[in-house]
Amino acid sequence: MAKLSWQEILGLIQELRKRGFQVVGPSSEGGVVKLVPLEDETKLETDYVRTLNSPKDFLLPDKERLFRYKSTATITSYGLKIRFPTVEGPCPITIVPEYSPPIGKLAFFGIHPCMANSIKYLDKVMLSDPADPYYKARRDGLFIAVLECAEGDEYCLCKSVGSDKVPKGYADLSIRKEGDDFIVKASSPMGSSLLMEESVEEIEEPSPKMKEEYVIDATDEKTIETKDPTTLLEGCTLCSSCTVVCPTCYCSDIQDRFSLMDPSNVERVRMRMSCQRRSYSSIAGNVLFLKTKNDRFKWRMKHKFPFSEKMYGMSGCVGCGNCIAFCPSRIDFRSFLGRRVA
């Protein structure tokens, strides 16, 4: 354990950068706090509740190239007949994926416990067999310094979903603010080498205080299915913001991009998707599974709670409250799945 000044905290970030990490941490920008790469001029924010983005934006970018391949596409004048470009030869299996070169190993500095839990969830999803090589390339050697959270805002619910504490193995350092100073504990060999301390400590963090407490217990599939969210969703415009700002939403879509310059050069890209979008559940023949906003909201709830519990043994909601705070209509799922107790 060490008591560090503000300058010494900045020193830790510099040291991480010296060791080849791309350090990402909270900074205030245009009226919101966001996780950004911390450069010399970036001001680290240590008094904040929520960040608009989350570690997933660095581990699973909005758009990434998976690989390129050659097709025999040519565009020729066939009168009114259209010629289809085709892919020839052994396809994807023999293609060596092009991982986006990591700019260095990643380090998250100053994220809250809910976000550390979100990394655990993403790991469960992306690293379960077979592991996603793109995610793994960014995830390997990840350094995490968690900043304890004293009190959430009116949208936080980490306590209700059990992610108010850092899961084991998801912090190299744990930082508590105390006046102008910071109490820093190392909880991994990497953390202690950074603190230049010998020992690794067990962290016992206090649970953050909640402004509003909820019991979230109506989370089984049947209950969600039978409830009617019509009134709750009156103001929902299906804008998908809730899934963009959610630290555990990982859905993606895969597209092939042809270029006009050289139509034989095709790029396969992975892009973010959202279950609130129409194309998420539409298939050939103009069939749409999740038709209404009620369907899509219920799907989101089912995936966050019962489906995640079943598949990964962990809640898919880490209680950060982002989907409520950043919804243009402040649609709040908490009373749909439970009740307020304090």
Binding site: E29, G30, G31, V32, K34, L52, N53, D62, I75, T76, S77, Y78, L80, I82, R83, F84, P85, L233, E234, G235, C236, T237, L238, C239, S240, S241, V244, V245, R257, F258, S259, L260, M261, D262, P263, R272, S274, R277, R278, S279, K293, F326, P328, S329, R330
Partner: protein
């Protein structure tokens, strides 16, 4: 494959955008396709003002009688007709403006002006690419999809989606009326990312829900009345479809 690029009543900004924004792709466009007409760039090839084309791209709204006749000729001579830009897809500013301006019968007959309409009011249109001006990337994507025998896709998300991806604080919280929640996305939230509210220059989003949007404004303490004039600006004829739902 033969392409033709036409212009009806407009600022010609969409075709200009294609020329200026395609970058190196413009060379690909020129080398890989037969471009038998491109307003501002190449006169019609082969004598006819409306050469036979596999795909005709048309910018602009139908405002004059001549526009109407030309569009019908274009339809006859093209396998696919694709509207490019918001004038062609909704009627844009001209749609509402031409209904508000009081022109006498005489002035109208001299100018041969009518109430502005989007292309879809006059012909059976195949596809629409929105934007004021059209987005060059979406154009390339749409063209290549057509070449591949696929339908061009319109974004299925509103401006809010990309606004959140860009990491912007919501302007509604700053008490500014923003049309983002009902506006068709795909612009990378160009305006809201620099702090100006969205005016839905790409027309309504395919699942635009006006009732929910008005409710959102109420929730934020904003006046629905303040949003109404903005809805008239770019959405043209499409605002009627949105209102119906």
């Amino acid at each position: 494959m033969k392409l033709a690029f036409y212009s009806l009543t407009s600022c010609e900004g969409c075709l200009t955008t294609l020329i200026t924004k395609l970058g190196p792709d413009i060379e690909g466009l020129w080398n890989n396709f037969d471009i038998d007409y491109f307003k501002l760039v190449r006169e019609p090839v082969g004598g006819s003002k409306f050469p036979k084309a596999d795909i005709a791209f048309v910018e602009g709204a139908v405002v004059t009688n001549l526009d109407r006749e030309h569009l019908q000729e274009i339809r006859k001579n093209s396998r696919f007709v694709v509207a490019i830009g918001t004038c062609a897809s909704t009627g844009n500013i001209a749609y509402t403006a031409s209904r508000n301006i009081k022109l006498g019968k005489k002035a109208l007959s001299v100018l041969e002006v009518r109430e502005a309409e989007p292309l879809s009011s006059v012909i059976a249109l195949d596809y629409e690419l929105n934007g004021c001006p059209v987005n060059a990337d979406e154009f390339v994507d749409g063209l290549l999809r057509l070449v591949n025998g696929l339908e061009p896709i319109q974004p299925d998300f509103s401006v809010c989606y990309q606004c959140k991806l860009a990491g912007n604080a919501c302007l509604l919280d700053k008490k500014q009326v923003c049309l983002g929640p009902i506006a068709m996305g795909g612009c990378d939230a160009a305006c809201t990312s620099v702090g100006s509210p969205c005016l839905a220059c790409r027309g309504p989003y395919i699942e635009a829900d006006l009732k929910a949007y008005f409710k959102t404004l109420e929730n934020k303490g904003l006046k629905v009345e303040d949003a109404k004039p903005l809805l008239q600006m770019f959405m043209g004829k499409k605002i009627k479809e949105v209102l119906k739902e």
